[in-house]
Every structure is written in structure tokens, then in C-alpha cells.
Symmetry: C3
């Protein structure tokens, strides 16, 4: 299906500089052709912009004069491009109904407009909302509620005790509601603590491939509306993630930690248990969070790689910093300097 | 099903302070109601304890006097609570037999009391023990042995060459027995080294969601009895994990490393290959282990996040520590101090 | 099936020292018996070599005199052993054809010599090459192309837009072609950016258990020939990995990063987005890469664990390094030393 630039401008509130009758059918990079729409989010791509053959480019006002083709001007070109892309590349249409190979319990309520795919399982008492998609090999455990327009792509597992909101997307291999890691020490061994809480996922949440979200031990694990979880993230029991927080891949969040709203957590980050991370906190990738953070801002603990021979020497220095403290103090004493007011605890 | 406090006290060896005829049916936090049992493991929750409306609280003797409701007093309240919770919230009952959609090889021996779920596959020569559960989409490869009372929840994969003990729980998406990462360099490329070992999992082991345990290259990968593996852990080929060791999520263990008994490994930890970690070693979360550790104790290498602007400056300092060493020595020489006996190698 | 040492020597270009008529049927460690072949790659195992009862040992010329049994001498014993192991332990034979429970779209082209396993799904327009294996629960999305002799073991998901070369192995739980993490900020929330690119996987690639490879946002994610990916790796959208690069488990690679050829990336490594890593770069395990690396060599940023009480003190020192810089400079000024030419920016 094609759209005219005029239609796109009206629909997404852009100022159009160019011929409104030009038609496009796809999105592409700046290297794409006249049937496609691209975007430029920063001046970094100015050179590529000037050489583009795209049908139109979504950009901010400051770049409009440099665009050699039609421009769809918007103050938020990134989000506008995302909306245009969603229009031109919609998710596949559903084929409402239940696949012949799917197993749906007779007590489950599957909306007539929903689709249950091949080899899917929908347990007793489940409620599957309108226009939702239970993809192949997906298992919806007993009593689970799935909201409207939510898509479980391939082999998603929702364990009993899970509620999923509307317009969510769960990617292949994700698991929501499996047991948290609860063990009580007894002598040399462990006694498993049954995990009897659930998982409550809000509207417009995306959960990435092979990501795991554990059920609560007693209360619920909570993922508020608009949260975006990338692939291979681990969310432990009783964690709470505030609305519109985005977390990149391979991050692990330990039990009972509360993360605020609109946070951005870089990939490979580790967040300890029973912490409170406030709203609008940004953690750069590979950060290690072991204490609560209240103040909005940007936090980091990454140490970038170094040539290995030098790095080994540096690690040796780090491991001896405690001895260095004494050496520096001794020097200060000999020089009649100090004690250093700013560092009174060494 | 409900239990009286008297029954619970007798069954779990608690001293009951309160009415033995009170009946409970569930566990809950201290905020729960009179039909539930909770627990307090430390004085941190003293205030909540004093306000509780629970039917009973499991606690240690020192806290008994502060409990406004019935108290189940035990020297190990955490483990006792776990046992009570298991009684009140048992795992779902099995429906012995083989689902009509499951594929079970005619040469497999499935105990009559075991359940094989929908779309499960049980290969040639497998032995599935009494009261075991092969969950939906679970594949039990050729010749695999699964002990009594073991549960493979949803889509667990046991590759050929795997043996699983009794009373184990394998969570959704876990993979046991896939190939280790064995490659021999040859010119610019790699030659795959067939992985012909197996995996031997002891009794009472729990393996978390999307955790992977590789088969041995030649010998076996070994997980001893009582080991607890959280979600998204990677156990490489020929690793051995000693009895009752617990490992939190997102930890990776490289090939041929031996971990002792009763260790506790925090989440996000990385353990290099061909190391030996002794018994009773505790590694805090996000630790990086690159050498063997013999001495029992607590080990760490985490660097917590810092405000990013400051952290960037600190990283700059770290990267120049090698230069600092020379500066400090020069100062010491000028001051007639040293050489520092404790640090003779810089 | 058994092979004589004479046959093995001829087939793999070894010099045989010993009886060519001795027959072997398996590979084993140096502790194995006379029906097996082992190998020694370094002098570290000299003692075990001298005591071996194996039928034959693959080794380099320098060790041949110390071998008490037949020796298959080759300048690359590791790769030669790998080839012998592949001969003695071949992958299971296929049973060409489509399992009765599999769902294959009528428009898919499945080669007559390929095998489609139980509960597998092959979508519209797919092309499955000769002697390929689509394992149980594997889903091959619409239009996906799978080359000859490629094996998707159990529950592999190939999303629409994926192309897989010849002789690849994809391990259980791996997901190729799911959406990249693309979100545009809009006010407090996020707008999903449709991911319309694909994934292009070359020949002879191995992808580990539960590893995820995202499709490109606009262009393709590319895995070149001979790449080896271990378990639980995350490859984000538009990443490119050069030929014969090997990456160990639990590594995460952020979006649009380009990794060169013949790199070796240790386990647990994190690589930031939009970077360029050149050819022949080696990153040790748990490395954090936040800048592009051009020069071939060995890079590291790991900090090994330390006894925790000492480590806490060291972290305190690290966090105060910025203050130390001032203290050292003050000492230098007092001593009439410096400014330090090598470090002019503190």
C-alpha cells in the first residue's frame, strides 16, 4: 500500500516541503530510492542527506534547507519517522480464530477477533482480548489475562499468575511468571520457597527475545505501562519497573528492586536487590548498581578495555591502592603538608 | 486445603504461641490477613511485625514477644516458612499419562505415574521416573534418564547424553546438554570439535528459566545434588558444580572450571575457564573470577556506579595509575623516603 | 563404525608412528582406552601422555617420542583431532522427509533430502536446502532461506527476513531475526520503530543455545562465514560480524557495531553501539568496549575479584582518585618536582 506525502504530512502533523502527490511505500536509509521515506535526526548525517535520492526525508526544521528531495519537517523527526514506518510497515494482519493444532481449554475466553497460532496452549480460565495474537508454541498458563491488541510472537511462555495489558509485544523465547530464586538455607542445603505471587504487566509494554520476568515471591512483580525491555534481560521476583522506563539487553535486576519512571538503563547493567532507583535515572551500559539512587542524572561505572599488557599493570596498581594511600600520607607528613581536609578517612 | 496452627507446629517442630485451632490456607507478607502465615527473618521488620493481622508468623525466639498474633517459633524461621509454604501451596497435581499430542518413542520407559504433557517429545530409550512431569514442548533426547518426582516445566530441552536426578525442577526455556563451544583453529577458520560428553545432574537440583548447561567435550559436565541455578546462567562444557552451591542469575562459567560445595555466587558473575573454586566461597554480584580461589570467604570486584561526569575523570586517573607510580616514587626519592618495602615491584 | 590408524593417517595427512592396522571407534581423554584416539596440544599434559592407554594420540612432532602408544603426528594436532572426532562421532543421520506433525506451507520449497522434525513450522515461500534439518519446534518464518546441510536443532526460531547459509548449526533456543530495540522518545513515552531489515548469516556459522540475533532496523544484520557464536549471546540490530570471528558466551553487542574478521571475543564481554572493531582483535573475557579499536592486539578491562573487605577499601580509594591527583601535584610543587610532563591534564 502506498501513501502520498500529502497524506503523511496531514496525518502526522508535518510541514511538507515538496510535491504532496509523490507516493511512497516503505522506509529506508538515506541511501534508499524514491519510493521510500527516510529520516535524519542530527547534523552528523548532513553529507548523506545532501546526496539522498529518497522520496522524502523526515527532519527537523534546521535541516530542511539542506534536503535535496521532499522534506517532512517536524520538531521530533525520530518519533514521526517511527509513526510513518509503522503505517508503511504494519504488523502482519491476524487471521482470527484458533489453529487446528492449538489446545484451548474449554473454560478459556478467547475473543472472536483474536488469533491463536499453531501448537499454542491456552489454559483453563484464561482471557484473551480482542485482536490479540497467541503465537506458535506460546503457552498461556491457567488463569492468565492477555489484553487487547497484544501479540505473543513465537514460543512465549506466560505462567499462571500473569496479567498482560493491551498493545504489548512479547518476543520469541520470553518467559513471564516463572519462579523467582527463593531458597532458605537449612544446614548444608536449601529449602525451596514456593513463589506464590504473580506478574502484572501494564499496557504498551515490549518484552524482548529470551527475556525472563519472574513472578513475585508473595506479592507481584510489576512492569508498568510503556516499559521497553530488550533481549535477554532478567527481572527477578518482586521487582517493580516504572512507566516508560527502557532497559537495554543483557541487564539483570535482582529481587525486590524498584526502578522509577522514564529511566534509561544501558545494556549489560547489573542492579542489585532491594534497591530503589528513582525516576529519570540514566545508567550507562555495563553499569553496576549496588546502592539506591535517588537523584535524577547520568551514572556510570564502566571501565573501557585497554591494551592488555598495560591493563595488567594498571590492575596491579589498583590492587595496591591501599598501600599507596599510606605512602602518600607519609610523603605529606614529611613535606609538612596535610592532613588532607578533603579526604579524612584514609 | 487448610491446616491448623497446631498441625503446622507439630509437623515442622515449632513452638506455638497462640491458639492451635486457628486454621490457615496460604502464606503472605506481614500485610496479609488472618487466613495466612507470614514470617520475619530479622529485626528489620519489627515495626511491620507489631502491626500484622496475619493468622500466624514464623519467627525466631528473640522476636516472639513482639508478635501480636500467633507465633510459630523456630530457630530457622526462613526454612520453616519455606516448608509451610510448600505445604500450603503445593506444586500442581499431576495427571498421570501421556497427552494425546505428545510423541513418545516406543522404546522409552515412562513410569505409569509420570505425566507427559502436550507436544512433548520423549526419545528412544529414555527412562522417565515415577511422578515426573515432562511439560509442554519439552524434549527429552534419545537415551536421557529423568529421575523420580522431577519436573520439566514448559519447553525444557534435554539433549541426548543427559541424566537428571530425582526431585529436580527445570524451568521454562532451559537447555541441558547442548554442545559446548569447542573449536580448533585451522588457518583463518575453525574446525568444530564434536562434543561427545554428557551432563550429569544430581538430585534436588533447580535450573532456572533460559539457563543453558553444555554437555562435556569428552567427559561429563556435572551438577551435584542440591545445586540451585537461577535464570539465564551459562554453564560451559566440563564444568563441575559442587553440592548445594547456589548461583544467581546471569552468571557465566567458562569451560572445565570446578566449583566447590556450598558456594554462593552472586548474579552477573563471570568465572573464567579451567579454574578451581573451593568449598564455601562466596562471590558478590558482578564479580569477575580469573584465578582459582581456595580459601573460603567473601570475594568481590564490583565497582558501583558513580555520577558519570566524576566517573569519567576517575577512569582517566585509573588509566594513568602506571604513571602515578613513577611520580610517587620520585617524590619518595626526593624526600629521602623509601623504597617502600611493602611494594617492591613498581 | 571403526577406522584403522592407517586410514586416519592417510585421510588427515598425519605421520603415523605405530601399527596402521589398529582400529579405533571413538575419541577420549588421555585416560581413555585402546579403542579411542586422544590428543595432546601442549607439553602441559606430558605426564598424562606418558601414562596413556589410548589406541592412538594426535600430537605435534616435538611430543612424538614421549608417546607410549601409536602417535598420529601433525603440526596442528588440535584441528586434526577435531576432524578425526567428527569422523568417529558424526552428527546423527537425517531421515529425509516431513514429520507428520510438522506444518509446512504449500508454497515452501523443502528439498527432498531435507528433514523437517516434529512440530516444526515452515512458512510460506521458504526454501530449505538439501540435507538440512529443521528440528522439533523450530519455526522458519515466511520467506526464510536455509542453505544446504544446515541444522536447526531443537526450537530454533528464524523470523521472516532471515537468510542462513550452508553447513550452519543453530542450537536450541536460538532466535534469529526478532525485532531490534528501536524506540523513539516522544514526551514521556516511546514510539516503537518498526524493524524492517533482515539477518544475513553466511556459511559454516554456529549459533549457540539461547543466543539472539536481531534483524536490522533498515538494512541487514550480518554474520559472515565461519563465525562461531557461543550460548546466550545478544547481537543487536545492524551489527556486522566478520568472517571466522569467535565470540564466547554471554557477550552482548549493541546496535550497528562492526566487528572485523578473525576476532576472538571472550565471554561476558560488552561491546557498545556504533563502534568499529578491526580484524584480529582479541578481547579477554568480561571486557567492556566503549570505543572503536583499530589496532590488532589483545585488549582487557577485567578486574579480578579480591577478598571483599580489602576490595571495599580499594573501591573507596578508586572513588577518591580525583582527590589524590591534587594531593600528588601539591606534593610535587612542594618538592619542586614537575609539572609531570607525561601527565599534563590533571
Amino acid at each position: 500500500m502506498t501513501w502520498s506525502l500529502g497524506e503523511l504530512a496531514v496525518r502526522f502533523g508535518c510541514e511538507l516541503r515538496g510535491d504532496p502527490s509523490v507516493r511512497v511505500d516503505s522506509v529506508a536509509t538515506l541511501g534508499g530510492g524514491p519510493g521510500s521515506v527516510g529520516f535524519v535526526a542530527s547534523t552528523t548525517y548532513r553529507t548523506a542527506l545532501r546526496a539522498t535520492n529518497l522520496g522524502a526525508v523526515v527532519l527537523e526544521p534546521a535541516l530542511a534547507d539542506e534536503c535535496p528531495t521532499a522534506a517532512l519537517v517536524h520538531r521530533n523527526p525520530h518519533a514521526t519517522f517511527a509513526r510513518i514506518a509503522s503505517l508503511l510497515h504494519p504488523m502482519p494482519n491476524l487471521s482470527p480464530g484458533i489453529d487446528a493444532t492449538a489446545l484451548v481449554d474449554s473454560s478459556a475466553q478467547v475473543d472472536a477477533t483474536a488469533q491463536v497460532g499453531a501448537f499454542a496452549i491456552v489454559g483453563a480460565g484464561c482471557v484473551i482480548g480482542p485482536r490479540s495474537f497467541i503465537g506458535p508454541y506460546s503457552m498461556v498458563g491457567e488463569g492468565v489475562v492477555v489484553g487487547a491488541d497484544t501479540r505473543l510472537l513465537t514460543r512465549v511462555t506466560l505462567c499462571s499468575g500473569t496479567r498482560i495489558g493491551a498493545r504489548c509485544i512479547l518476543h520469541p523465547g520470553s518467559v513471564v511468571g516463572s519462579d523467582g530464586f527463593g531458597n532458605a538455607r537449612d544446614g548444608d542445603g536449601w529449602v525451596k520457597i514456593p513463589q506464590v505471587g504473580g506478574v502484572n504487566v501494564g499496557d504498551d509494554v515490549e518484552i524482548g527475545a529470551n527475556t525472563t520476568v519472574d513472578r513475585g515471591a508473595l506479592g507481584d512483580t510489576v512492569i508498568e505501562e510503556g516499559v521497553r525491555l530488550d533481549n535477554q534481560i532478567q527481572v527477578a521476583h518482586n521487582v517493580s519497573i516504572g512507566a516508560h522506563t527502557a532497559i537495554a539487553a543483557c541487564t539483570g535486576i535482582a529481587g525486590s528492586t524498584r526502578i522509577g519512571r522514564r529511566c534509561m538503563i544501558g545494556g549489560g547493567t547489573g542492579i542489585g536487590g532491594q534497591l530503589t532507583i528513582g525516576d529519570d535515572i540514566i545508567i550507562t551500559g555495563f553499569g553496576m548498581v549496588t546502592r539506591s539512587i535517588e537523584k535524577p542524572g547520568l551514572y556510570s561505572s564502566v571501565i573501557p578495555v585497554e591494551e592488555a599488557r598495560l591493563w595488567r599493570r594498571i590492575v596491579g596498581r589498583i590492587k595496591r591502592l591501599d598501600l599507596w594511600a599510606a605512602r602518600i600520607r607519609k610523603l605529606e607528613t614529611a613535606a609538612g603538608i596535610g592532613p588532607a581536609g578533603q579526604e579524612n578517612d584514609d
